[in-house]
């Protein structure tokens, strides 16, 4: 018999599951009690990725 994972009631977290056209599931999580963030973007917070620094790859 498989051990059950310890679970705890998640206050404030809501989830909604849908099935995509190809049969895969998708779960949307929302937190109504926590304000949505203004989602800072990289342009507001910092530089983009190092673009691989491919030409500078040195072992």
């Amino acid at each position: 018999v498989k051990e059950d994972n310890k679970s705890r009631q998640e206050e404030g977290m809501q989830s909604r599951r849908i099935t995509l056209a190809d049969g895969r599931y998708m779960i949307f999580y929302t937190f109504p009690d926590i304000p949505k963030n203004d989602y800072p973007t990289l342009s507001e917070t910092g530089p983009r990725s190092p673009a691989e620094t491919a030409e500078e790859k040195n072992v």
Partner: protein, 330 residues
Amino acid sequence: MSELRFNPLLGEWVATATQRQDRTFLPPPGFCPLCPTKPGGFPTEVPESDYDIVAFENRFPSLKIMPGEPAVASTELYPVRPSQGVCEVILYSPIHDTTLAAQPVEQLYKLVKVWRDRFTELGALEFVKYVFIFENKGEAVGVTLHHPHGQIYAYPFVPPKAEQESEQCLLHMQKTGRCLLCDIVAEEKRFGQRMVAENESFAAYIPFFARYPYETHISAKRHLQALTDLTAQEERDLAAILKQVLAAFDRLFDISFPYIMSLHQRPTDGEGDYNHYHFHIEFYPPMRTATKLKFLAGSEAGAGMFINDTLPETKAPEFRKLIKPVEWKI
């Protein structure tokens, strides 16, 4: 075509997943399959945008809930089994041009709760023996889609690294009566020089045995085995120290810092309580300087012995200076 093939030389399973050769590779701007579908736009994988975090089955999985039969027959020398498991994608944000490090701490707090939920649900599946939560960040570690996301692999066996860690923890407990990770955290705190950050519940440090220059571990201070053991305060503290470490990574070289993040939790195979194990998170950043990458070359890939060109005792103080306080809005 997908199956698990056993490597008798190492005693490990290898997944074949030929369909992954066709997965989307660095699409041009405006054609990200992980962005929400826009009215009149091309249909992406995500039909809605009103969410905080999304979890869904990977379109190009290496493990499937209902796998097909293996394409090759199993033999005594080469055992083969169906590639049963689950591969999920976790979207951190509906916004494309952002990263986990750029999110406010509240978003990381939400992510910790989602991680916990996914660990609970996937770990309860009969065929799942280990739930591995991770993120590949940046093209330097092989990312093919830039939309901020992590992944979860729910394996039908305990993978080699988790098994090795668990065995070492068990040996240490049998030998000393103590938890190995608890001893490591105590030693790093006592020595101090390799510490990066800490709060009431977690410690971040570049360990004595680091294999990468900025390899950073975040360990729970309390002896616990999985996200499901965290108290509400510990969830907040985990979000806070994650925010501090991730933001400091980006400050190291003033770039969006590439890394592999891996959560190490107890197996879910029902083979005991794994009280000897200890929850922690490991980061493997490939950069050894602002312009040079650490590769897994001959010794690392061929022999399994890592060579670190730096000392944790000098890298940790450099990294520690970049840690800033976290500002909560809730």
